[in-house]
Each structure stands twice: as structure tokens, then as C-alpha cells.
């Protein structure tokens, strides 16, 4: 019997043809279902194709009803292992908890012009560097700019959170990636509150932009809100 690649857990239902044609099927038990496909060759490579396929399956199914997405790379030994997984009480609790909820990711990036705004008080330091462009002077100036940018990030994060907190049930705040990264949030939102969240963000950008650009993606399955590790006797 072949191994099964596990995409996530959902409620039993008919799968869209687009997915079943690609070999995705459900292993069902007592109102719960594991989303799987047969796996010929292990190990699974974290390739672009595989990662996007995983995301595509869980996102597609989450559009209609709850999906608890699995971390990429989870493989079940066989059908029996899928049934064992579905029998865990935590699975039922999470399915119920996330019944009407979605994750949205919100990332913010600054335009380079943010440096102009945050560096205004640093003119003396900059002038000193201009007159004597030493390595030490450059590092001192750059360090001061980095600090000013960090303050700006904290300020903007606080403002964004203040604007959206009424519309979200939970938030995971991560460190933004890149020199011009401004914020990186995962938001747990009721499905019927997504529009209100969008409106609140649109309002927030009037106050914050430029130079802040926001990117809101979702509704996605609640990747960031199912991260409990289930201990299972093998």
C-alpha cells in the first residue's frame, strides 16, 4: 500500500473535479476527512511545484468550508494512519474552532523614500559624513538611520493594529523580511468580517501612505493558528 501525502484536514464533501482529476481524494471518518494524494516517490522535495500545489489544494477547499492545513512535507504511512489522525480529539476541536474563520496575511513594505522622512533629524550626522566620508562615519550614520526606521516600523505597526483589532480574532506578528520590510502579520478573521477588515485597512492607508504599501492576501486556511503539535503513538 502506498503512502499518502497529507495536505490538511476538512469536513467530508464532494471534491471539485479540478482536484480529483489530479489524484486528490478524501479519507473520511465520522464527519472528518483527511485531504491526501498517493505518493510514489519519497522524499518530497520542497520544490516550487510541490509548494504551490500544496497551497493550491488547501486554499481551493478552504473557499467553501474549513480546512486545517498541514505543514508542508507531512506523509502518512497508509490509510490506517489517516484514520488514526482523524480520531484525535484535537482535530475535531480545531475543525469546530475554525469553522467560520480564515487567515489573512498582511505585509507592509516601505518605499525607499521612507529614508527621507526618518532621516530628517539626522542632518547633522549626515553633514559630518559628507565632509569626512569615513567608514566609521558611514556606519554611525547608517546605524542611526536603521534605528530611526525601526522606530517608524513600531509606530506604523501600532497604528495598523489599532485600526484592525476590532475585526480580528487573533494576530501573529512576525519580523518583516528585508531592509524595507515594514510589517508581517497573520490575522485570524471571521469569514463575515473580511469586508470590514478591508475597509479598515483602506482607511488606515490614508493615514500611513506614502511611503507604506500593504499587501493583504486571503481568505486563506488558518496556517498560523493550527500550529499545535499532536503527539501520536506510532
Amino acid at each position: 500500500m502506498s503512502a499518502l501525502y497529507l495536505y490538511g484536514v476538512t469536513r467530508p464533501r464532494e471534491l471539485p473535479a479540478r482536484l480529483s482529476e489530479r489524484g486528490i481524494f478524501l479519507v473520511e471518518s465520522e464527519g472528518r476527512a483527511a485531504i491526501v494524494s498517493e505518493l510514489d516517490a519519497a522524499p518530497v522535495q520542497p520544490s516550487r511545484h510541490n509548494l504551490l500545489a500544496h497551497a493550491d489544494v488547501v486554499e481551493e477547499l478552504h473557499e467553501q468550508s474549513v480546512v486545517l492545513p498541514t505543514r508542508f512535507g507531512t506523509v502518512l504511512d497508509d490509510h490506517a494512519a489517516a484514520l488514526e489522525l482523524l480520531a484525535l480529539p484535537d482535530i475535531e476541536q480545531l475543525l469546530e474552532l475554525h469553522r467560520d474563520r480564515s487567515e489573512l496575511t498582511l505585509k507592509g513594505t516601505y518605499e525607499e523614500s521612507v529614508l527621507e522622512e526618518v532621516s530628517r533629524p539626522l542632518a547633522p550626522l549626515r553633514d559630518a559624513y559628507r565632509q569626512a566620508p569615513t567608514l566609521e562615519g558611514g556606519i554611525a550614520l547608517g546605524e542611526a538611520v536603521t534605528e530611526a526606521l525601526a522606530d517608524r516600523r513600531d509606530r506604523d505597526l501600532a497604528r495598523v493594529l489599532e485600526r484592525i483589532e476590532r475585526h480580528v480574532e487573533d494576530v501573529v506578528v512576525s519580523k518583516p523580511v528585508g531592509e524595507y520590510g515594514a510589517l508581517d502579520l497573520a490575522l485570524l478573521v471571521r469569514r463575515d468580517a473580511v469586508e470590514a477588515l478591508e475597509a479598515a485597512l483602506a482607511e488606515a492607508t490614508q493615514e500611513l501612505s506614502p511611503p507604506l504599501h500593504l499587501r493583504l492576501v486571503g481568505p486563506l486556511p488558518p496556517y498560523s493558528f493550527v500550529s499545535l503539535e499532536l503527539p501520536v503513538a506510532a
Partner: protein, 131 residues
């Protein structure tokens, strides 16, 4: 695969109903989601490195020097009227006028300004309602 992606951008917020590309999903797929320890029998070489790389804290000397150079190119004098955000938009006209008096002679300087976004805003001042 032909998934319809509706993506829209209104002002400074981009809206994507589904993830569109690795950048949107990489971290959440590798770093989050349900973990079922006993079931994970495939160890994925390279993932640890990948996620660590994504989280590299960018506060190196290299970054400092790049920021220093970027700030060095800025004309901080011109903005010491301490503009707030609304002022930046309204003030673009002044910048634009100033730019016009300079004409094309200082193209090199203007070109740099364009590149770092100062000139770019100035050149937008004729059609403020563009948004």
C-alpha cells in the same frame, strides 16, 4: 494550472484573494500549519536553512553603509520645514517648481532624485488627482 487570480491595487493597498506565487506561501507552508510528529516520515533536507534565511535580521554593516549612502544623496535641507505626511503631498508642487527652474542642466542630480523617489513625486504634481 489555470487558477483565476483576481488581484487589485487601490492606492497603497494590494488585495489578493488567493496566494499568488511562492512569496505569499513559502513561510506559512514551511513554518506553520498542523504538525503531526509521529506521521512525519519524510525529512526535508534544506528546509531548515530556507526558513532561517528568510528570517535573517538585516542589520549588518552592509545595510548601514547602504542606508548611509542613500541618506547622503538626499537633500535634507529642502525638507527642514518638517513636513508631515499630508504636507509631503501638497508640498510636491514646490519641489516641482524648484525642479523646473533648474531645468535640464542638472540632469545627473535630477536623475538620482528620480531614482530615490524624490523627483518621482515632483513629476506627479501636475496631476494630483491621479489616485
Amino acid at each position: 494550472m489555470a487558477v483565476m487570480q483576481r488581484e487589485s491595487s487601490a492606492g497603497y493597498i494590494t488585495r489578493a484573494p488567493r496566494s499568488s506565487g511562492l512569496a505569499d506561501v513559502l513561510e506559512i507552508l514551511l513554518d506553520r500549519g498542523l504538525v503531526v510528529d509521529a506521521f512525519v516520515r519524510v525529512s526535508l533536507v534544506g528546509i531548515e536553512l530556507l526558513t532561517v534565511d528568510l528570517r535573517v535580521v538585516v542589520a549588518s554593516v552592509d545595510t548601514y553603509l547602504r542606508f548611509a549612502e542613500a541618506v547622503n544623496r538626499l537633500d535634507l535641507q529642502a525638507v527642514d520645514q518638517s513636513k508631515s505626511v499630508p504636507d509631503l503631498i501638497g508640498g510636491a508642487e514646490e519641489d516641482g517648481a524648484e525642479r523646473k527652474t533648474k531645468g535640464a542642466v542638472e540632469g545627473g542630480m535630477d536623475a538620482i532624485k528620480e531614482k530615490i523617489g524624490l523627483g518621482g513625486r515632483g513629476s506627479d504634481d501636475d496631476d494630483d488627482n491621479e489616485d
